[in-house]
């Protein structure tokens, strides 16, 4: 039973792995370009699992900025995971706290959405979380390592269409997430609100605070409509 769930988790991570590979690779290339060693770049992906946050940190290194700038930007960017993790709590009631907490480190936009979709029909389990979150994280680490070590040798991946991997994944996960009419309204409200905020406050796009605000307002609209 446990093995099956572990394998199901790994299987469900395949699309995520495909999406992460070009991003992790590109991160490795950039990190090497701004002067991080292969070891430092890889360690960053081991200890931090936050695509946008790592890109920003690398930007700060490149600009010769202060460490605290990178850290504050990361606090902002990662704030939404507080919401995600809290929304997972009702699913995790029956799980042992320690492994569930540790595996939650592998919580990303993508693993979150895949897991929420799974928990609509299946009970959450440590084995499934391990398969999904660890495989995704390992692919992130591995692609960073390859990018940092071999980046200079390989041409850019844009022309292969990999730039659309994450948007395509978000689109499908969004479709899978919708079961109530109020889900559609919450999703569309959040989409419109985050674009409007991004339009008037372009800075919110780079630290993703528009996404946090739009998510909270969208969820509130969902509750108010409730069907």
């Amino acid at each position: 039973m446990k093995n099956i769930e572990l394998i199901e988790g790994m299987r469900d991570s395949i699309p995520i792995v495909l999406g992460y590979f070009p991003l992790g690779f590109a991160f490795g290339v950039l990190a090497a370009q701004v002067g991080l060693s292969v070891f430092q770049a890889t360690m960053m992906s081991v200890l931090c699992f936050t695509g946008a946050g790592q890109y920003i940190a690398i930007g700060v290194v490149q600009a010769g900025g202060a460490i605290i700038t990178a850290i504050i930007a990361n606090i902002l960017i990662n704030m939404r995971y507080f919401l995600f993790a809290t929304s997972m709590v009702p699913h995790f009631k029956h799980l042992p706290t320690l492994p569930a907490s540790l595996l939650s480190y592998g919580l990303t936009d993508e693993t979150y959405a895949v897991a929420v979709n799974r928990y609509q029909k299946h009970k959450a389990s440590i084995a499934y979380m391990a398969g999904l979150n660890l495989t995704s994280h390992i692919s992130w680490i591995l692609s960073t390592f390859i990018g940092a070590a071999l980046g200079m040798l390989i041409a850019d991946t844009d022309k292969f269409g990999f730039g659309f991997a994450l948007p395509a994944m978000y689109t499908c996960l969004l479709v899978l997430m919708i079961s109530r009419k109020s889900d559609i309204i919450a999703a569309i409200s959040a989409a419109v609100i985050c674009i409007v905020i991004g339009y008037y406050l372009p800075a919110s796009m780079s630290n993703m605070s528009n996404i946090i605000a739009a998510t909270m307002i969208g969820a509130t609209i969902g509750v108010l409509i409730n069907d």
């Binding site: 200890l47 709590v89 948007p167 395509a168 479709v175």
Partner: protein, 107 residues
């Protein structure tokens, strides 16, 4: 930056990305939320995916680009269609990547 300051930065970014994911599960997993909060939390996933999809399509380079030149908008149409029809993450991903590769190389 010196090697030490790079490691301090990595450690700081690590804490900033780790704590918000782990703390709610570690501290709240035995707490029962009031029904209204549980309902609100059930809308977080559709809402955040709506927001992420919108940003990834309409601001692919980080700045808003709502115009016919934005090939992400064009690739989005067949991708959404295949997501609704197949409900398969894998097929949707393949359709999206192929459409983007065609648009990128042809336009």
């Amino acid at each position: 930056m010196t090697e030490t300051s790079i490691f301090i930065m990595i450690f700081g970014v690590s804490l900033a990305s780790l704590l918000p994911r782990i703390l709610p599960i570690a501290l709240l997993s035995r707490v029962t939320f009031p029904p209204l909060l549980t309902r609100w939390l059930s809308y977080i996933a559709p809402a955040v995916l709506g927001a992420l999809t919108a940003v990834s399509i309409l601001a692919p380079e980080g700045a808003l680009n709502i115009s016919i030149d934005n090939i992400f908008i064009w690739a989005f149409i067949p991708t959404l269609y295949s997501a609704v029809k197949t409900r398969s993450l894998f097929i949707t991903l393949i359709v999206g990547i192929i459409c983007m590769a065609l648009l990128y190389n042809l336009m």
